[in-house]
Symmetry: C2
Subunit: 166 residues, 2 copies
DNA sequence: TTAAAATAGTCGGTCGTCCTACTAAATGCG
DNA sequence: CGCATTTAGTAGGACGACCGACTATTTTAA
């Protein structure tokens, strides 16, 4: 006594499809749910690849950002700004990275409101190793051709742009 | 003494760009970070639109799914399967919806392992009102033409498909 | 038919995100 | 100059997602 046999079609086939024949013009909703699903898949892959190194993608991004800085350290506010996350998310990430011994907090003499984050030697090692791991994975995104990836990127960029994201 | 003036270009312009000139062929990483950023934007919009109704998009999806069911109720496992989330996420969502009086848990006589979730009258009201609210928002995704939305959807679908998501 | 395996749901814990509120410090302006 | 405003960071809490572990039930198979 399942529901499906009773209907000419299953109205709730799967996520990203549930709006189809129900809520009026839901093209944008279908796209929205698809975006969320893809994010879920991609993040799971990235986190999975980083798991052996004890970090998540969110924390990996922080490490990358710090390592790219000219002085070798960045104020937390800059990190939040560049990763476009809330200041408290940065505090959280740095807390964890510091507890892991991958990052060190330093006072900023020039502006005593600021705290700088700097990679430790261990942080640099983990960053290097995890970067290699990330490049080695067979990434779902690579199921798209380079051209399709570029096109998707361009479309998302347009979307972000029209949302005032730049 | 900022870092930027010292360099011919800023290597860490923004999220989605931080890989550009650093980590080898990072086309897929750029796309990955862009996907995650767009998800963040889209979800924030949806949650924002639903906030007046006291629910999140995650919980809204659960309401929709239940309302679409032929019997008016669904086992939690079906909900998780269709939304493609972990069983514990469903338990969590139903806990909250039940605490809000929008959903009711029922035992399933046919299979005593199962718990069915059913909308309350209040749940139906909230669903109706919040659906209207969602349709009324000026959605960032609509910054893309219908054609571009369809194209983006098709590309993401290909990606999901190659990730074995269907 | 009975023991093993699969399925359904929950609990406790981790993690990342956001929000509000608060302190300390720097900046701006009358 | 001194007070108001802005900026930087943190604390505490909400929320959603995941995982591992565990119980209860159903299904499978020996």
């Amino acid at each position: 006594m399942t529901t499906d046999p009773k209907l000419p079609f299953d109205p709730i086939e799967r996520a990203g499809e549930i709006w189809s024949d129900r809520i009026g013009e839901s093209r944008s909703m279908k796209l929205a749910t698809s975006i969320m699903r893809v994010q879920q898949l991609v993040l799971a892959e990235l986190d999975g690849a980083l798991k052996p190194y004890g970090i998540t993608f969110a924390r990996y991004e922080v490490l990358v950002l710090i390592s790219f800085s000219a002085e070798g350290s960045l104020p937390l506010s800059k990190i939040g700004e560049r990763l476009m996350v809330h200041p408290t998310s940065v505090t959280n990430a740095i807390d964890r990275l510091e507890a892991q011994g991958l990052v060190k907090r330093l006072p900023d003499a020039a502006d005593r409101r600021r705290t700088l984050a700097e990679l430790t030697a261990k942080g640099k090692d983990v960053l290097e190793a995890s970067t290699k791991a990330l490049m080695a994975i067979d990434f779902a995104i690579e199921g798209l051709s380079d051209k399709d990836q570029d096109q998707t990127y361009a479309l998302l960029r347009t979307l972000r742009s029209s949302a005032g994201d730049f």
